[in-house]
Symmetry: C2
Subunit: 355 residues, 2 copies
Amino acid sequence: MSTPLKNDLLIRALLRQPVERTPVWIMRQAGRYLPEYRAVREQAGDFMSLCANPELACEVTLQPLRRYALDAAILFSDILTIPDAMGLGLYFEAGEGPKFQRPVRSRAEIDNLPKPDVSDALGYVFDAVALIRRELDGSVPLIGFAGSPWTVSTYMVEGGSSRSFERIKGLAKEDPKTLDKLLAHVAQTTADYLTAQIAAGAQAIMIFDTWGAALSPDEYRRFSLASMQQIIDKLPRERDGQTIPLILFTKGAGVLLTDMVQTGCDALGVDWTTDLADARRYTEDRVALQGNLDPATLRESPADIERGVAEVLASYGSGPGHVFNLGHGITPDIDPESLGVLVDAVHRLSPQYHR
Amino acid sequence: MSTPLKNDLLIRALLRQPVERTPVWIMRQAGRYLPEYRAVREQAGDFMSLCANPELACEVTLQPLRRYALDAAILFSDILTIPDAMGLGLYFEAGEGPKFQRPVRSRAEIDNLPKPDVSDALGYVFDAVALIRRELDGSVPLIGFAGSPWTVSTYMVEGGSSRSFERIKGLAKEDPKTLDKLLAHVAQTTADYLTAQIAAGAQAIMIFDTWGAALSPDEYRRFSLASMQQIIDKLPRERDGQTIPLILFTKGAGVLLTDMVQTGCDALGVDWTTDLADARRYTEDRVALQGNLDPATLRESPADIERGVAEVLASYGSGPGHVFNLGHGITPDIDPESLGVLVDAVHRLSPQYHR
């Protein structure tokens, strides 16, 4: 645990401290675009068996670091481990995404949601964190993560993926107090879960709010942001004298970044629909920014990928506080060579912004 | 044609002139949530046969006006009539949305796209416009519309609906000049098409840019906004001494509204993810705003719908320049009674903002 980090670029950038070049990691960097991932996934059987096996989760977490000069590892897991631990019966149907056997919709179902003992029910995650830290041996920091209470609750209430969020938006309007209760319950469990990830060795934390921006701005603040705030208020921000930076990411946030910065987080993820220059203005340089190349760019030629990287770096401009990433996860169809082009371009083109 | 409008609230609001109450109409107000629409649709056979039959298109256009005190009719048609007229072979597969038999992808396919004579190929649309105007007899104005060149081109290049826009984003990066050419071709045909709608009697025009905000802000300005500008520059803005207001709607635009206002349009559609108060700030009251209740609100109780209407009206606040609408189209599952609650609430609650 006490091995000092050999590469702490990510931590410094997230804390807006000076760096020599912009650190880079990629959302879903451990994923299906890598043939070695697909081989392990096949060995594990299904997706949740892979998450639940610390050795295999560790292996796929490390795979992209063997290929690319990335500045962080991110725990291989899923945002739906928490409702799974609450007994909702997570399963994956081929080509259909995640589903729950027992979604929660009524006041009674929400009142009766079990409060899982995370150290027991999600012990496999903390075992994976500890194992990954040991294997990393201080080479780069390990990012732990969870979904936002709103995003996780959309799956719990809808019973799976949704585009219209019919049921949970209905709950928000008809019985907002019951939704508050569900969100608070998920927030408390998530705070316990992330605290245990930090105790096990996670060196930075990211909260993924994929669906917050499907709400109106008022509802976003009332439901999604407020419940992320409940987590933030409970999280330890230091361990063994090291600050644990916290990144919030609401996909499609746009000007909501202005509200997000008030939470006391260290950094905000930004998707490609907001210019980083605008995001800096919205956040008045009070937090670091992470992003934001359109993942579609990775389907293009090496020259186009390099140009895309150059544009993102230029959009952020000079000074500390930028972590290079895509604006959303890398997709399964990407040629692994293309990600190499991206990472090399960040290494080559970013030092000029840190002189 | 020269019948003066008995109810010109929409036109005045779009031009930011004083009104006694906020006018209201609803995107997709002629649609599947109405049993009388479903009956006509069944009679017509498929969706495109309904669009192509001026009598039936007129009938479904008028249906919602018989039920609700709406302040505008909108032509019943589809944004894909233009590529259909270019010979791409539009068809609809059950549950799958629109498809094209002959998508255009290569430079050669784009170079060879026919330039349809709209008065011939799309004459059925102008016949419907003239017929609807006659039937409306000046009761409320008729809105004509088209898709934005970017949005229409996504279907033409992808071959149907898309969520990732893989092929057209590839074209944008690898061969932007060819994409410019496609967009300019669609823009020219759309300008001809909308000009002919105005000549046939359309009294306001709306351009629907459903997918512009899937681009980065720079790409949005370069491809989507620039090609809408090409249309705007060619459109007549007056007919028989009457101004023809122009509404642009990029779903999810957020702060891009700031750029859209530069085009010289009269009004901007706003979806529910941007507060109208913020939208007024972005646009500095230089244009009217149309929107923006979350369509999901129509699934709630009458009290919740009324509260939703009150919040939207309050968010816009006092003064001219607001047209009430949803933030996107009404969905097929809505109880027709619920739309009545919405329209009545706008009539009852909006006059206080116009004293």
